[in-house]
């Protein structure tokens, strides 16, 4: 048992610190929010170190309910980066926007624990519980500004649709359990392999179950046609929360998607590949087309995230090691571009109020040249212009798709990224070639500049030092595939 | 034919006889509990109490019962008739069905089920429905307020009651009520678990809506709370149900903490008395405290009531469960 506890050490540490911070917040006199928020950030950083120190050898804990492997560690690292940066971005925001309550960072930590549990799930039950822990915390933080209509609306929408998707996931899981007789991923893989070796066709009920599970997961990553909640939730939620939504939960859900499909259901690749291809195609096209007419930058980012999910799913659709590597690289680079962009959005304040219109960025190059430069880098990178990081992330997934002979996907992907480039470049045009609008409030805060600078540097210089991310992703993909094979 | 008799009919008749054997004394006890309450309170307030009907007023409960029976049943015009009539029945029936698992002696129990404690807990948690239904169906403000208060109160105190029961079960090692009584062979649980015993007793005061927690029917603020609109037999059923509930919860207290049917000491003058009598005596003692509390204490304010339940009893009982478990494990006293 003690051995098991060592395996889940990072989760355990984060969980215990979340509960300790809850107690601290509840019993400390005065307003403890600032303290709890900074300690929560420290806790995520320490957890990141703990994940770093975890061995990458695959190991099961708690009777096969939990798995720790290189893939999980890589994804958990990304998730923790996402949550700690979102926490830092929230520092000033929650004080200014009158949502200074200590439950906010605590719920973020609980959500992060849920994501880490999702990534490490090795059983349909632990998958579901991790997912619920994450979603429940996210519903609450989406509606955290309960006195504004849009925030409560976004929380409610997220909750209702999220509950629906959990229902689908559970229905699918029960079908899988009914036909396979187990919920454990290893056993499922074993059963399917044996059936395949015996030359039996997989039962229809099982496939229906897998499709339902995939529908539930597609909901969580926000892929078309399960994307309806994304724009409203992104727009309504407080901006640091949106930044969080667009980074960590996406990565966790995507990692879970990969683990479920490449692990227990690896044998059914012929069946699930069509579904993933369809989701990926639709997401790319819709993400590119629907974003064009947006005027609100958070809504734009929502459609952009739908598009990025589509590209990342190309890697999964390939169903190969190269594909999973592409997925991992894509998610890592997406994380940094996205956090940087949201740092810029968080700085968009005029007369002490947040502004969210794309037009408010007009002439940014003249009022805030450095910020405009950073934003320009992120936009070019998201559009996939070489030699920025976004180009390489797309390159990896397209190469994997071509290797797996999914030419349609690759072609549509390239075409839709050309369409997508239109609206990313429109922002660049607004910033550099239009007359300046009113300038933004100063100062932004040193941490914002730091985040923008770091994210910009990573995006810009990825092609010089690609190895940390690429080799990490490679090891992660190898460890996921090794377990399945 | 003989098969039908021995296989089905006789067991059915036997069960009915058992039920009658419990219910008849129970209903008589309920009637005389009202009498006892009035006499005891009168004694504490230096009055006489009922002394006109029959010798020492002993026929007073009968007179009251007959009076209620012959009054007119009034159904308020805007009420929801079915639910309105159903509510007192629910209260009454729930107060009776719980007796199925109360052991009166070794092997003297109608249903000796494995999860007796849970059954009792389940039934007592259902009790709130009779009150909510009554309050809602009356379509009147006072009853509804009373019902709201009562529901919140009963749900709150059930939590700490649950923890108390958990600590008793930890000490007894079984959920079976006979087993719990037998585990108290040498030492009644009231002694090692004294704080839990106190919490349990106070919680059952709240659970039965008795003074000092009688806010749901606080006559000075809510007229009579959830049964303002009730009259005649429907009122009588509520009344009977409530008093039967008091006796039931006293019996549960006796079984969980006071050694059930066992004598206090295993030496001759005590062992001569049969177990049923011991149980009855213990129930009577607890009921006396019920009445004593009513004669002594004023009513709690509502926020004080909630504070006591959630901020005092819940942490204390939770802590005590952990402590009990810790002590049992550390000193290797866990029952097998």
């Amino acid at each position: 048992m003690t051995y098991d506890l060592a395996t889940i050490a990072p989760e355990l540490f984060l969980l215990v610190s979340a509960m300790a911070l809850l107690m601290l917040g509840a019993f400390r006199q005065g307003n403890p929010t600032g303290l709890v928020l900074s300690l929560a950030t420290v806790a995520t950083v320490i957890t990141f170190v703990l994940v770093w120190l975890q061995p990458t050898a695959r190991e099961l804990a708690f009777g096969g309910l939990f798995v720790r492997d290189g893939f999980g560690n890589f994804m958990k690292g990304l998730i923790l980066v996402g949550s700690s940066v979102s926490l830092i971005m929230a520092w000033r925001f929650i004080e200014r926007e009158n949502m200074s309550r200590f439950e906010f960072p605590v719920l973020m930590l609980f959500a992060t624990v849920g994501m880490m549990m999702m990534v490490s799930a090795n059983d349909l039950i632990s998958l579901y519980i991790g997912l619920e822990l994450q979603s429940l915390s996210l519903y609450v933080i989406a509606a955290f500004r309960r006195d504004t209509l849009r925030s409560t609306e976004s929380g409610l929408k997220y909750f209702v649709l999220g509950a629906l998707s959990s229902g689908m996931l559970l229905y699918g899981s029960s079908l899988v359990y009914g036909f396979a007789g187990t919920t454990n991923f290893n056993t499922l893989a074993e059963i399917l392999q044996q059936a395949a070796q015996a030359g039996e066709a997989p039962s229809i009920g099982l496939i229906v179950g897998v499709v339902f599970v995939m529908a539930g997961l597609a909901f969580k990553v926000g892929g078309v046609p399960f994307h309806m909640w994304t724009p409203d939730v992104y727009e309504g939620a407080p901006t640091p929360v949106t930044a969080f939504f667009a980074s960590a939960p996406k990565i966790a859900a995507m990692a879970l998607f990969a683990r479920v499909l490449m692990g227990p259901f690896a044998e059914l690749v012929a069946q699930w590949q069509q579904v993933v291809v369809a989701i990926s195609l639709l997401s790319m096209v819709l993400g590119a087309l629907a974003a064009i007419s947006q005027t609100n930058i958070k809504r734009l980012m929502a459609y952009s995230s739908i598009g990025h999910v589509g590209y990342a799913l190309i890697g999964l659709a390939a169903g190969t090691e190269a594909g999973v590597r592409g997925l991992a690289v894509y998610m890592a680079i997406y994380l940094f571009m996205n956090l940087g962009t949201f740092a810029v959005i968080l700085c968009m304040r005029q007369k002490d109020r947040m502004v969210e219109n794309i037009d408010d960025l007009r002439g940014l190059s003249r009022t805030h040249p450095l910020m405009a430069l950073a934003m320009g880098i992120f936009m070019f990178s998201m559009a996939g212009i070489p030699p920025l990081a976004g180009f390489f992330s797309k390159l990896y997934v397209f190469l994997a798709a071509i290797e797996a002979q999914l030419y349609t996907l690759a072609v549509v992907g390239v075409l839709s990224s050309v369409v997508g480039a239109f609206y990313y470049l429109r922002i660049v045009k607004l910033m550099y070639f239009d007359e300046p609008a009113e300038s933004f409030d100063q100062p932004f805060g040193r941490e914002m500049s730091l985040i923008m600078g770091a994210a910009g540097a990573i995006t810009l210089l990825f092609f010089v030092f690609p190895s940390p991310i690429v080799s990490g992703a490679e090891a992660a993909a190898a460890s996921l595939l090794a377990a399945a094979g | 034919m003989a098969d039908l008799w021995t296989g089905y009919l006789w067991p059915a008749i036997f069960i009915v006889l058992q039920i009658v054997a419990i219910l008849v004394p129970l209903l008589i006890a309920v009637a005389y509990l009202t009498y006892a309450e009035r006499k005891v309170i009168a004694g504490m307030q230096l009055r006489r109490g009922p002394n006109v009907v029959g010798p020492f007023g002993l026929l007073q409960p009968l007179a009251d019962g007959i009076k209620l029976l012959f009054k007119e049943t009034i159904l308020p015009a805007g009420s929801n008739r079915i639910v309105f009539v159903l509510a007192p029945m629910v209260t009454f029936v729930l107060a009776l069905v719980a007796w199925a698992v109360i052991p009166f002696g070794p092997n003297q129990v109608i249903a000796d089920i494995n999860v007796g404690v849970l059954y009792l807990f389940a039934i007592s948690s259902l009790g709130v429905y009779g009150i909510i239904m009554a309050g809602w169906a009356s379509n009147s403000k006072y009853p509804f307020l009373g019902a709201c208060r009562s529901a919140a109160q009963m749900v709150s105190y059930e939590v700490s009651m649950g923890f108390v029961i958990v600590s008793v079960v930890l000490c007894a090692g079984t959920l079976n009520l006979t087993g719990i009584v037998e585990a108290q062979q040498n030492l009644w649980f009231a002694i090692p678990l004294l704080p839990m015993f106190v919490i349990f007793f106070i919680s059952i005061l709240a659970e039965t809506n008795r003074t000092p927690f009688d806010l749901p029917e606080g006559e000075s603020e809510l007229v009579a709370g959830y049964f303002v609109e009730y009259s005649s037999m429907t009122f009588a059923l509520f009344f009977l149900g409530e008093y039967a509930n008091m006796i039931l919860l006293s019996a549960i207290t006796a079984v969980l903490f006071l050694g059930g049917w066992m004598p206090p000491l295993w030496i001759p003058p005590f062992t001569w008395v049969p177990g049923e009598i011991w149980l009855a005596l213990k129930i009577a003692a607890v009921l006396f405290v019920f009445i004593w509390v009513r004669a002594t204490l004023p009513r709690y304010r509502y926020d004080q009531l909630m504070r006591l339940g959630w901020k005092v009893f819940l942490p204390v009982s939770l802590g005590w469960v952990v402590l009990t478990a810790g002590v049992l494990v550390t000193f290797d006293l866990l029952p097998q």
Binding site: L65, L107, F110, S203, V208 | A122, V155
Partner: protein, 204 residues
């Protein structure tokens, strides 16, 4: 056996009938009351199957706590069912289609129920035979050992739900004079009582 069969049919018939009433009754409070009845009968079915612990817990948790609060909310809100039914016919086709698909799938699951022998082999061993261990003990044995991870994780989910409910609803009102028990208990006579000598005939 006959008695058991009779009980089974009684419980399941009442459960199904009340479930139908839950969705078809005009008054939402009646719906909840029928829901209670349905739960109660489900608990009865559990007991019949020999899972008495689950049956009792169903009553304690669902009837004793969850549905009470549910009933409360429904009673407080004035829900007009007729108004809510307005779109009923309009959405009936799509709703019925989805329901039909789910039903067909359910039949497929039951009809095509064939666990391969390998699956049966590797599937985890279920509970021990009921003659040896009561189901309460059996549940306790696996819940705190084999499934401790899930058990604790579910506990955290509930904790988060509680925090969420508090965050979204608790409002600290200003201008409320709260009772401070400590202050009250430690109040001395000097702070609260002032003795005044009043000259007779002159008032205070």
């Amino acid at each position: 056996m006959v008695v058991q069969a009779l009980c089974f049919y009684l419980f399941s018939a009442v459960a199904i009938a009340s479930a139908v009433m839950v969705i078809s009754s005009r008054n939402p409070v009646h719906s909840v009351l029928f829901l209670i009845l349905a739960f109660f009968n489900a608990a009865g079915l559990f007991v019949l199957m020999g899972a008495e612990f689950l049956g009792m817990i169903l009553v304690v948790v669902y009837l004793g706590a969850v549905t009470v609060l549910f009933l409360f909310v429904v009673m407080m809100l004035n829900i007009n069912v007729a108004e809510m039914r307005q779109g009923f016919l309009q959405y009936l086709p799509i709703g019925a289609t989805v329901g039909l698909i789910l039903l067909v799938e359910l039949f497929m699951v039951l009809g095509g129920w064939a666990i391969s022998p390998e699956a049966a082999q590797v599937a985890q061993v279920p509970t021990p035979p009921p003659e040896q261990v009561s189901n309460t003990a059996a549940l306790g044995n696996v819940l705190y050992t084999k499934y401790v991870y899930l058990f604790q994780a579910s506990g955290i989910v509930l904790l988060v739900a509680m925090i969420g409910a508090i965050v979204l609803t608790l409002r600290t009102r200003t201008g409320v004079r709260r009772q401070n028990l400590r202050e009250q208990s430690f109040r001395t006579r000097d702070e609260s009582v002032e003795v005044k000598k009043v000259q007779s005939g002159s008032g205070v």
